[in-house]
Amino acid sequence: MLPTLMMQNVGLNYHSKTSETNAIDDITFCVNKGEFVGLVGPSGCGKTTLLSIISGILAPSRGQVLIEGKSTKDKNAVIGYMFQRDLLFPWRTIWQNVNLGAELKHNKNATQKATKLLKKYGIYDFKDKYPHELSGGMRQRVALIRTLVLNPQILLLDEPFGALDYQTRQNVIDDISGIIKNENTTSLLVTHDITEAICMCDKVIVLSNRPSRVKKVIDIQLDKTKPPSQRKTLTKFFEYQTQIWKELA
């Protein structure tokens, strides 16, 4: 079976008036269907830039990005993108926010899916409220549902818990990974938080300093029946943590 996401020798140069920077040197990895993959690396190594390339917003200088075997150049891929902030539109109700994608694509099925997901994840009663009336965790849940409504082939998560305080964060991590696992959505998580990556992911990709390359791919085998927030007490967790620290040092 084709991998959901295939990055083949992807590279990117930044151009400015005075210089040309080789930001991303050569990145090759793949994400299989249903997998949850984490991307960690030193700050400034271009993690977010990689997500922009995968989502087709930015064209790479070299190499190619294939989603289910098709190049992202054709812009046919359906990609979910979740940001650090929930980015809900304050002038839209929860229902209207969740259906944003459906509206853009004139997709009736997506509207049905929205109803289903809102009911399943306990937000249906709040559908006529405005975002400011919901808590931070709830808003992030709505943001996730907004992306899932379009049945994305792959979900990109860019530090999606970075804006939450510590307490909320633990709950939201369990909540969001629970939903993603339930819906069996293939996901790629970018984070600077190694703990978060180990706890949530099936596979962690460690990137090098700029110009970035893939330094190591680590398979994470932790007890997946436990919620992510409880996996960090497992003995194997510390082994993985030491291993990743070593790679980053």
């Binding site: 087709g56 917003i57 979910g80 980015l87 539109f89 304050p90 694509k105 405005y130 400011h132 379009l150």
Partner: protein
């Protein structure tokens, strides 16, 4: 609010103080106006000031009644209001459309930026005589001046609001496959609505300035005309009366915009 709710003594005290402060402020606001008008009238009656030059509240009121009875009031008021509203609408709508075009094309924006800067700093009244010659003396040149006075600032503020829109939200829409038109209608325009209301408020003031300037330069009717005419024939009662009417009209228009603002802000909290 629940009426059966029992407030603590401290809270009652707090509420009482708030109410008291509100009454004090309102009393002084009204008192200031009444005191000023009363003093003005009194000094006039006592011949301390020359009411031929300063006019007085009672003379202004009498002039108002005369204008009202002769039917001139509605005629002049109507004309000025018409010019202002048309100028206000054209400037707001056209200015917003231009701002949308400049947002749409970065090239166009870069090309036109120096021209906008120059036009913005130019005192628009300097163009008055030219406009009268080009557009012709009459309503149309007053409306043109009115539009000129407020359109540039509309373009600049609306464009700023469009460009300040959250970049991540634009990315979000792009990742969902939105085209430029959808980004404009689903995100840029709704998120600039707050700024649009402040532009409306600014333009209320600006369009009155434009209309009165226009009427000073070229007119045979309207409140601006009455002011100029009144000063030329030394009928300061007429001048003052027109100024008071202007004050009332401009406040009324501002008040209407404020109501619109409240309606919009109600559902928009970030």
């Amino acid at each position: 609010m629940n009426k059966n709710l029992q407030y603590s003594k401290e809270h009652e005290k707090f509420l009482h103080k708030q109410k008291k402060d509100k009454i004090t402020i309102l009393t002084f606001q009204i008192g200031l106006l009444v005191g000023f008008l009363g003093l003005w009238e009194l000094l006039g009656q006592l011949n301390v000031i020359n009411t031929f030059i300063t006019s007085s509240p009672s003379r202004i009121f009498n002039t108002f009644i005369t204008l009202l009875n002769s039917g001139d009031l509605w005629y002049h008021l109507g004309i000025t209001l018409y010019e202002t509203l048309i100028g206000f609408l054209i400037a707001t709508v056209l200015g917003t459309i231009i701002a949308i075009l400049l947002w749409w094309s970065e090239k166009l924006r870069k090309i036109l930026t120096p021209y906008i800067v120059v036009l913005n700093s130019l005192p628009k009244i300097a163009l008055g005589p030219l406009i009268i010659i080009w557009v012709g003396a009459g309503l149309q040149s007053i409306i043109t001046i009115c539009v000129l006075v407020s359109i540039i600032i509309t373009v600049i503020s609306m464009l700023n609001a469009f460009l300040e829109c959250d970049k991540d939200k634009v990315l979000l829409l792009k990742s969902m496959g939105a085209n430029k038109w959808q980004i404009l209608t689903k995100l840029i325009l709704p998120s600039a609505l707050g700024q649009f209301v402040s532009v409306l408020k600014i333009n209320v003031g600006m369009s009155w300035v434009g209309t009165i300037i226009g009427e000073y330069l070229v007119s045979s009717a309207g409140l601006g005309y009455l002011i100029v005419y009144g000063s030329q024939v030394f009928q300061l009662d007429l001048v003052m009366c027109s100024i008071v009417l202007l004050c009332l009209l401009a406040s009324l228009m501002y008040f209407i915009v404020s109501i619109i603002e409240k309606k919009i802000i109600k559902t928009r909290k970030d």
